[in-house]
């Protein structure tokens, strides 16, 4: 296939095929037979990753609706990483929780297909479809523990609110289509730029409704309320996947739509996003303070992190865009690592995600406690971790464009967030273990994944240059 029409979708095809293969494998699996289904998924993801790397700088386009510019490929790579780590951590949890392995991995892969497509799509309709693909797969993943009411409840809440959000989103697309006559981002941008539209209520309605849709997906305040519940109810590893993959994909599409399609209107949407970003950072951290469930706490933390990313989006400069990409990568590694540990420590019966479950973890699982600490420090933005560089990048973008207010809100809320991250550390290190049963030993594969994530976090923290350069290249090619 030399520069064929399909080039840009190769990564997506890889993952889709993997999903189908996994589904088939499960279908043909005899009862009790062990099958390395996770391995198949990883192969597919690696294929997608390899394809993304090969497509680097090619700027391939397919069907007029999908592009493989560096920006999308960067997001693809992040998603591949997220996917692989999720699969790796699932190795411990799928069997333990007696999940239907084939369907589980297939859903995971389909979700990733949707996510990749969100990053790659250049047409609002495709973005919507991708969003729905991803969402439906994630709804199902959330509710996959049918034996637990919480899981189903979480899935339903997520689903219902997600459906509302989709409606808003779609309505927004409708208005934009009505104004510009196209759903293609590129053409939309040209159309808007051609005729000054900043006073047109229709386009403003469209923008507003799109903001609602995207803000819901990135769990921005006040569209965030589903996320703590969904995160808490979902199987832990799915929570990790949601908080990173979904967010990354939504942000990628957000960036493309707003900074490319609606760039001419930046003066109109930036103030709204400013407030949303600020509120997200503040509310995410503040409410996180009162949480006692680790998953919920990290859900709020995830909300707050979404706020930081939105802050970079508000800025909208090249630095801001690159910062978003860097942040996505750093955050994905860190957060997945943290959720991976929580997932590993859970049992079939309980998620073991209460703060008290972590009392004295250092004494029973020193390695896990150390890993967790480093992930939490990264989330809190301490050097020398990826989290620090990421935050610095975002604030640098904000300050560079004179958004001092956002930067200050951001740094202060990150101080507050440190409080609850440290509560976990306090529990792990400074509290004696009570009489709870000691969690099971760690699956070596999962452990390998954790260590890999940690190495990533530290690598990005100490030597971030390569990724920063990559991020800058990514945004420079398209915008």
């Amino acid at each position: 296939m030399t520069s064929g029409q399909f080039d840009a979708v190769i990564p997506i095809i890889c993952v889709t095929l993997a999903g189908l293969v996994v589904l088939l494998a499960e279908a043909f699996r005899r009862k009790g037979e062990h099958m390395p289904i996770g391995g198949l998924a990883i192969i597919g993801l690696l294929g997608a990753g390899a394809a993304s790397i090969l497509l680097w700088d090619s700027n391939a386009e397919s069907f007029g609706a999908v592009t493989a510019d560096n920006f999308a490929l960067f997001v693809n790579l992040v998603l591949v990483g997220v996917g692989i780590l999720t699969v790796v951590f699932s190795s411990q949890t799928v069997d333990r929780d007696r999940l239907p392995a084939g369907e589980y991995y297939a859903m995971l892969l389909f979700a990733i297909v949707g996510m990749m497509l969100m990053g790659q799509a250049t047409d609002l309709l495709v973005i919507f479809l991708a969003l729905e693909t991803m969402s439906i797969a994630v709804y199902i993943l959330t509710g996959i523990r049918r034996d637990q009411q919480q899981s189903t409840e979480a899935a339903f809440k997520y689903f219902l609110l997600g459906a509302f959000a989709s409606s808003f989103f779609l309505y927004g697309i409708a208005f934009l289509y009505g104004v510009t006559g196209t759903t293609n981002i590129e053409r939309m941008s040209t159309a808007i730029a051609a005729q000054s539209m900043s006073g047109n209520p229709m386009i403003l309605l469209g923008i507003g409704l799109l903001i609602v849709g995207f803000a819901f997906k990135v769990a921005a305040v006040p569209f965030h309320m589903w996320s703590p519940d969904a995160y808490e109810g979902a199987p832990t590893i799915v929570t990790g996947f949601m908080s990173t993959g979904v967010k990354a994909a939504a942000i990628a599409a957000f960036v493309r739509v707003f900074l490319k399609g609606l760039d001419p209107m930046i003066a109109d949407w930036a103030p709204v996003l400013w407030w949303i970003a600020a509120a997200t950072m503040v509310v995410g951290t503040v409410v996180g303070v009162a949480q006692t469930s680790l998953k919920r706490m990290l859900a709020y933390s995830s909300i707050a992190h979404g706020g930081y990313i939105l802050a970079a989006l508000v800025v909208g400069t090249d630095v801001g865009k690159a910062a978003i990409l860097f942040y996505l990568a750093a955050y994905a590694l860190t957060n997945l690592g943290a959720f991976g540990i929580i997932a590993i420590l859970g049992t079939r019966e309980r998620a073991n995600d209460d703060l008290r479950d972590y009392a004295g973890l250092w004494h029973t699982h020193p390695a896990l406690a150390t890993l967790m600490t480093l992930f939490l420090l990264s989330l809190g933005g301490f050097p020398p971790t990826a989290g620090f560089i990421a935050k610095w990048y975002v604030f640098s973008a904000a300050i560079g464009s004179g958004y001092y207010g956002l930067a200050i809100i951001g740094v202060l809320s990150s101080v507050v967030s440190v409080f609850f991250y440290l509560r976990i550390v306090v529990m792990m290190y400074m509290t004696d273990r009570d009489a709870r049963p000691i969690p099971p030993p760690v699956h070596p594969v999962a452990m390998g994944g954790l260590v890999a994530a940690l190495i990533g976090v530290l690598y990005l923290g100490v030597l971030p240059t390569r990724l920063i350069d990559l991020a800058q290249q990514s945004i420079s090619t398209i915008f």
Partner: protein, 683 residues
């Protein structure tokens, strides 16, 4: 060579401090004493070398090393011997040696470790005192200044297990620090003014400056330095530590709190005479404070019952004298009195030590009496010293005191002269009260109850208590001082007699040798040597009269005044004899008649209590309740924790919004959507 003088005691300190507790007493004490003696010999040699120089450049300098160099400020650790410091080092090493000698015997009942500790402190003290007097600049002096304060602290607190001793030690240090506060400020102002702290440099620079008519820089500097001096030399208002300092072993009282350290303030003024000379207003203050202290302490001394406290107040009073002298510009007289005072006061203290020693720790003079026949050496030396301090003619005290009074009068401070004269009378009275009550009259010390029953004073020193009952020091008749103590006493008594003859005034046919000797030092203050032009400079010359040139014109007046003061001395002694030897009911009756006055005097005018009530307690309460528990915990931490609580509170409230109902969540979304749209529509 010069450096050896302080360094020898320092060596003694190091040896005793590090390995002293493993050495027998004879070695540790002997070493300390020997080093002091050697130091004395070297001092004598150095002074002789100094004397051999022409009077104008009588200075021996020794630069040890550059101490602090920062920017354009630089300071050497350097020593300087000139006429003034020569007097001082002789006093310090000479009397110091004697007191070391005395102590080898006096402290003999201590354990080896404590004995060595005592001598290490004593040596360290001598080191610092010598640094103080030899320092060539203000800061080196200040090192010694603080160092002696430290040693004073250590030595007062020598019996650390005794609460009163520990308290007294701390009080001494802290009160001194109050003075240091001013001293440091003065030093800083000096640096800013002269960009140097070297005494020579400052003297030269000051010479070129006019005498201040108002209250100028120099006045401020000198006033600050004088406040420093009031701390060290126990003047009003900072004198309260000195009587308490008597908690230390008696030789310490003799050395530090009589002969040397407390005179540092006087020395310091003498050292900086050229500055004070240009600040007449400060001098005025110095004189008044000195006179007031002299009188004030004298009145208190009159009623005290602790033998050492009487001497302590006497010291305060005599120091007041010295300051009076400095204040009226009679620097030579002040130094002269410092020098004679060192002899007789040391002798008195050592004598009192011998008495206490003899009585196994008894210090209350009401429980003494009739000791004359038991301890004759002590008695006679004590009497000689008392005569000397009373100002009986032909003894050392007479010459020095008299000169002060004379100079005061001549300088036109007649009122101060009256005060001085009254004090002189008081001095004679209370000293002889002490002599009578201690040595004369009936024996009031019970052999079986030799130890203190006094309510006011803490029980006798534990070390003496512990060892005093055993061996040779059993309950027997009081026995006289052993030879080392006796030697010291005798030497000092002789000194009390003859010391005054180095400075017999011209009026009585002497040559005022000490004045001649000191002249180059204080003459440096003479104005007009530098020919300056300009109105201000001319004025300076006019106002600046060389002090030392004055005497001779007033021979008659001087003789008259001498007569008056001699009379007063005799009157005082007589009065004391009447009241406390012949007719002891009178003081008791007086006390009964004026209970208020008596109580006031007995309680030292309640100054300690006043300080406690107005300064110490308010600060404590304010710090505890106001600053710590109030501001720190409530306000600052309250704000910090409050911010924390605010965040958690908001957190809890916001958290409640998350009530689990999907409808609420939807509502939140719609609120957001409506708000976003509203922003666009109503923008």
């Amino acid at each position: 060579m010069l450096a050896l003088i302080p360094l020898l005691p320092l060596g003694g300190f190091l040896v005793n401090a590090f390995i002293g507790r493993r050495l027998p007493k004879s070695v540790s004490g002997g070493l300390a004493t020997a080093l002091m003696a050697v130091s004395f010999v070297i001092s004598v040699m150095q002074v002789l070398a100094l004397a051999a120089m022409p009077p104008e450049n009588r200075q021996i300098n020794q630069l040890l090393f550059n101490w602090i160099a920062v920017g354009d400020f630089t300071l050497d650790l350097a020593l300087r011997l000139d006429a003034l410091s020569a007097v001082m080092i002789l006093v310090v090493t000479g009397i110091g040696s004697l007191i070391h000698l005395y102590s080898t015997s006096y402290m003999h009942e201590e354990t080896d470790a404590d004995f060595a500790r005592f001598f290490s402190y004593l040596n360290l003290f001598c080191f610092f005192m010598l640094m103080l007097v030899l320092g060539s600049n203000v800061l080196v002096m200040f090192v010694g200044w603080e160092g002696v304060g430290l040693c004073s602290y250590l030595l007062i607190g020598f019996y650390y297990q005794k609460q009163s001793a520990a308290d007294a030690a701390k009080k001494a240090f802290v009160v001194n620090r109050v003075g240091d506060f001013a001293f440091i400020l003065g030093a800083l102002l000096l640096v800013v003014t002269f960009n140097s702290l070297d005494f020579n440099t400052m003297a030269l620079a000051a010479k070129a400056m006019p005498v201040e008519t108002g209250f100028g820089t120099l006045s401020l500097i000198t006033l600050l330095m004088f406040i420093g001096a009031t701390g060290k030399s126990a003047q009003i208002p900072l004198y309260t530590w000195l009587p308490d300092a008597m908690e230390g072993p008696t030789p310490v009282s003799a050395l530090i709190h009589a002969a040397t350290m407390v005179t540092a303030g006087v020395y310091m003024i003498g050292r900086n005479a050229m500055l004070f000379e240009h600040a007449p207003m400060t001098l005025q203050i110095v004189a008044v404070v000195g006179a007031a202290t002299a009188l004030f302490a004298g009145t208190i001394g009159l009623v005290q019952n602790d033998i050492k406290r009487v001497l302590a107040y006497s010291t305060v009073s005599q120091l007041g004298y010295m300051f009076l002298a400095m204040g009226v510009g009679a620097y030579g007289a002040g130094i002269f009195h410092l020098y004679t005072h060192a002899f007789f006061k040391a002798c008195l203290f050592l004598g009192s030590g011998a008495v206490i020693h003899a009585l196994h720790g008894e210090q209350d003079i009401r429980k003494m009496g009739g000791l004359k026949k038991h301890i004759p050496i002590t008695y006679w030396t004590f009497v000689i010293a008392s005569v000397a301090i009373a100002g009986v003619p032909l003894l050392s005290g007479f010459f020095s005191k008299d000169e002060i009074l004379f100079e005061t009068f001549v300088e036109g401070h007649q009122l101060l002269w009256v005060v001085g004269a009254v004090t002189s009378l008081l001095t004679a009275t209370y000293m002889w009260r002490l002599v009578h009550l201690t040595f004369h009259g009936e024996e009031r010390f019970g052999h079986s109850e030799a130890h203190g029953h006094d309510d006011h004073h803490a029980p006798a020193q534990p070390a003496i208590q512990a060892h005093g009952h055993s061996g040779a020091h059993g309950h027997g008749a009081p026995h006289d001082a052993p030879w080392p103590m006796a030697t010291a006493l005798v030497v000092l008594a002789v000194g009390s007699i003859v010391a005054g003859y180095v400075n017999v005034p011209h009026a009585v046919g002497g040559h005022a040798n000490l004045h001649e000797w000191l002249k180059p030092v204080f003459n440096a203050t003479n104005c007009g040597q530098e020919v300056t032009t300009g109105g201000l400079a001319g004025l300076a010359i006019a106002e600046c009269t060389p002090i030392e040139e004055r005497s001779g014109d007033h021979t008659a007046l001087e003789l008259t005044l001498m007569g008056v003061s001699s009379l007063l001395a005799f009157a005082g002694i007589l009065l004391a004899t009447l009241l406390w030897l012949k007719n002891r009911q009178i003081p008791a009756r007086l006390a009964a008649q004026y209970p208020g006055v008596h109580r006031l005097l007995l309680n030292k005018y309640y100054v300690d209590e006043l300080y406690d009530a107005t300064i110490v307690q308010p600060i404590k309460v304010m710090s505890t309740e106001g600053l710590w528990r109030g501001f720190d915990v409530k306000v600052v931490d309250g704000a910090v924790n409050g911010a924390g609580y605010l965040v958690s509170g908001v957190s809890v409230v916001l958290r409640l919004l998350q009530n689990g109902s999907v409808k609420t969540y939807a509502a939140s979304m719609f609120v957001g959507a409506v708000a976003v749209l509203a922003y666009y529509l109503w923008r």
